[in-house]
Symmetry: C2
Subunit: 124 residues, 2 copies
DNA sequence: CCGTATCCCCTCCGATACTG
DNA sequence: CAGTATCGGAGGGGATACGG
């Protein structure tokens, strides 16, 4: 990757790791996916779409994604309150990469799982 | 992402999620990174390079990566035993994508963290 | 040297209940 | 509607010890 010679702490070796630790968490990717299909979405709408996520975690994820600059939050001071979430330009670029990843996955899709020991090569 | 109409279980919504859950785990990315720099590496060598990982976890990660077809294991029946790990062609393609991700991260690198509430927009 | 077995902590995340 | 507070179970992952 980068030419960084010394790798010490796993959390901050290269900058990718940081974002990876956010994106690697459960629901993060699905949240992005859902946001990408609707371009703007409300909290409970998103919660319903994800079907199984709790308010706690959804709120947590959205906050993390907002901190990373991937999601924008817009609050309408109404009653009842309305809050809309949407992807940033940064996140939309990320989406492209994710799609490439999806492409990569599809390209290498194996017919089924293989036991590791079965394909491990032994020198004769 | 894909055109899958119904999304139910978070673990298998689309195929990307699966690989994501493997790659999202701690050390996975760093293991790939280290393997990419040396093209073949032994267990303890890798362990030393990662500095902080336990044998248990390293072994576990390598097994997962092998199951995903990203890593190959070659056992030399010697005394003392020698085992060499290397990236598959599949993983090398993945590396390209990871590099794009790194690129993306670098491009959007913020000067410093911003409090979420500070950038949240309120409708006036 | 290359791992597995065990223990144990600690974080993640789901459930529930409650506020503005 | 849009969250926060709190609790509790499950599992990831570190430390240590041991085996082939």
């Amino acid at each position: 990757m980068s030419a960084t010679p010394t790798d010490a702490k796993p959390g901050s070796t290269c900058a990718v790791i940081d974002i990876w630790e956010v994106l690697g968490k459960r629901w993060s990717l699905l949240i992005i996916k859902n946001l990408s299909t609707k371009e703007t979405i409300r909290f409970n709408e998103l919660k319903r779409a994800l079907a199984g996520i709790s308010s706690t975690v959804l709120s947590e994820r959205l906050l993390e994604l907002e901190r990373e600059g991937l999601v924008t939050k817009k609050i309408y001071p109404e009653v009842p309150p309305r809050v809309e979430y949407s992807l940033t330009a940064q996140a939309k670029e990320l989406e492209v990469i994710i799609k490439e990843l999806a492409h990569w996955v599809a390209r290498w899709k194996r017919p089924q799982s293989v036991a590791p020991s079965a394909e491990t090569k032994k020198e004769e």
